[in-house]
Amino acid sequence: MMLEIIRWVGYGTIAYFAVMQAYLIFLAVVSGTVLRRNHHMSRFGRVSEMLSSNMAPPVSIVIPAYNEAMGIVESVRSMSIVGYPRFEMVVVNDGSTDETLERLIEAFELERVQIPYRPDLETAPIRGIYRGRGTVDITVIDKENAGRADALNAGINVARYPYALCTDADVILDAGCLVNAMQRIVEDREHVVAVGGNIRPLNGSTVELGHLVKASVPKKLVPRMQVLEYVRTFLASRPAWARMGALPLISGAFGVWKRSAVLAVGGFTSGHMGEDMDLTMRMHRYHIDNEIPYRIVYEGAAVIWTEVPENLRVLRRQRIRWHRGLMMAVRDFMPMTFNPRYGSVGMVTWAGMFLFEYLAPIIEFIGWFVVPIAWAVGALDTTAMVMLLAIAFGMGLMNSLVALMLDESYGYFNSAADTSRLVTMAMIENFGFRQITVFWRIRALFGGRKVQGWGNMERRGVANLGARGA
C-alpha cells in the first residue's frame, strides 16, 4: 500500500516536472516570436526620432537609497546622462545610518528647501527635502527609515511628472533604456500603465565611470548561475507573459509606472517583501475589477545592469526574502488564482507562479530527495527514475539553451569563454545549485528567522566592480 502511494507520488512528480518544462518551452517559443519582431528595429539602434522633446512625456526617476554612501554619487551621476529629453531625479534617503545624504549634498550642491510635501500616498515622516541648483535636476528626500516600498511611495509623492521610473541605487542604466521603455508608453498612452525592463547581472563585466564597457560572464559559480537564471526569465518568459497581457511581475530594478495609476491603487505596499510583484498584481486586479482597459508591457530593449549576490550567504538571504514576498503575494491574490474572471493573469501566468514558483520547492524537494529513495527501495522502477532525470535535466538544459539562443540578438557575451561558461553552468546547474535554492525556499515556507528590511547586499558599489572582473 505504502509502495503504491510512493509510486503515484513519484509519477506525479514526474508529471509536474514535465508540465513545468513544457510550460517554460511554450513561453520560450512565444518570447522568441516577440523578440524577433522587435529586433528588426534595433538594427539602427538610435534614439528614435519620434521621441523629440515634444512627444516624449517627462519622467521622474525615483531612486530609493539605504546606506549607499559608497556608490550613490557615482550612480546618480551616471544615471543623469541617460538619453532622454526631459526628466528629473528623485533620490529618497530612507534614513541611512551612513553618509549617503551628506555625500549627495556635497556632490550636487543641494540646498534644503521648503516645499509642501503632498502625501498622496501615506509614508513615514519626512525629515527634509533638498534641491540641487546645478545642471542635474535632482531632488533628495530625507526620511525616516521604513523600507524600500515606503521610500518609493515618498519619491512618487514628490515626483512632478506623469510617469515614474522606479529603480535602485546600484543599477547601471543602459543609455537607451528609458527611451525604449517610454516608446511603449507613447504608442498607447491611454492604456499602458506600466513597462517592465530587462535586468542583467553586472558581475564579471567591465565597468568604467559608472558605465558598462564590456559584458562578460563571471567566472565564479554563484553569480554565473544567476546570469543564466536572469537570461531565462527576462528573455524566455517575460516577453511571452507580456504578450499575453499578463505580466505578473515588473522588477523593482526597472519599472516605469504611470503615476496616476500608482496613486489609484494606493502605491507600493509598505513592508512587503515583494513590493514589485505586489504592485503589478494589484494593478491587474484593480483594472480588471473596475473594467478599465489597460496594458502592462515588457520592453526587452530597456536594459539595465545590476550587481547580484556574489556568495551563497548573501544569495540565501535574497532568495528567502524573495520567496517570503511570493508567499505574501500568493496569500493576497489567492482569489485570482485559476479564476477565469482574471483572464490570462489568473488562469495562466499567476497560476504558473503559484504552481511553478510557489509550490515548486515542495514538489522539487520530493523529486530530488524522495524519488531516489523510492527507487532505491524498489517502490519506483528504473524507467520512471530515468524519465525523471531526463525531463528534469534534459528539458531544463533545453530551456537554458533556447534562452541563450534568444539572447544572441543582444550581442553581449561574445567570447568563447563566455559561451562555454554559460553552457557548462546550464549543465551543472541541476547538480547542486538548484537543490540549494529549493532547500532555502523550503526554509522560507516553513518558518525560520525573519529576513527584514532592505537585505544588506554587502555591495562593493557599482563603481568599484570588476575592472578585473569576478
Partner: protein, 141 residues
C-alpha cells in the same frame, strides 16, 4: 613659429571623433582623441593643447564640468563646445566659463573647420607677438 598645432577632440560618438580626427590630420594638425569626460579632463591637465573640441554630453564628466574643472585648476585653453542639447542654461554657463565657441550638432564641417582655423590663428598670432616681444625686449613695441 611653425610647430604643429595640437588639438584635443573629446566625444563619446566614434563617428565624430573619427571624422574630426581624419579631417584635422589631413589639414596638418596633430590630434588626440578622448572618449569620455574624465579622459578629456586628464589629457587637458597633463598635456598642452592649442585648442579643445569638447562634446557636452559625455560619460563621466560633462563638457561643462570639464571646463569648470580646468578653470578651477588654472588651465586656460580655447574650447569649442559641441552640443545636441537645446539648453540655454548650458550655453550661458559655458560662455561664462570661457568656452570660446558653441556649435550645435549636427554641424557643418566646413563651418566648424573655419571656426577652428580662426581660433588657431588667434593662438598663432599671440605666439608670434610674444616672440616679437621677447626679441625686442619686454619694454613693449
Amino acid at each position: 613659429m611653425s610647430r604643429t598645432l595640437r588639438i584635443l577632440v573629446a566625444d563619446d560618438a566614434e563617428t565624430i571623433t573619427t571624422l574630426l580626427m581624419t579631417s584635422l590630420e589631413l589639414k596638418g594638425y596633430e590630434v588626440v582623441t578622448a572618449r569620455n569626460g574624465i579622459e578629456a579632463h586628464e589629457f587637458g591637465m597633463n598635456e598642452e593643447f592649442d585648442l579643445v573640441i569638447l562634446d557636452q554630453l559625455m560619460p563621466g564628466l560633462s563638457g561643462l564640468e570639464v571646463i569648470r574643472k580646468w578653470h578651477d585648476e588654472g588651465i586656460d585653453v580655447p574650447v569649442i563646445m559641441l552640443s545636441g542639447v537645446d539648453d540655454e542654461k548650458t550655453v550661458v554657463d559655458s560662455l561664462d566659463l570661457g568656452a570660446v565657441d558653441f556649435v550645435r550638432k549636427p554641424f557643418r564641417l566646413p563651418e566648424l573647420m573655419a571656426r577652428i582655423r580662426q581660433r588657431l590663428r588667434t593662438v598663432e598670432s599671440d605666439g608670434t607677438e610674444q616672440q616679437a616681444d621677447d626679441k625686442n625686449g619686454s619694454a613693449g613695441r
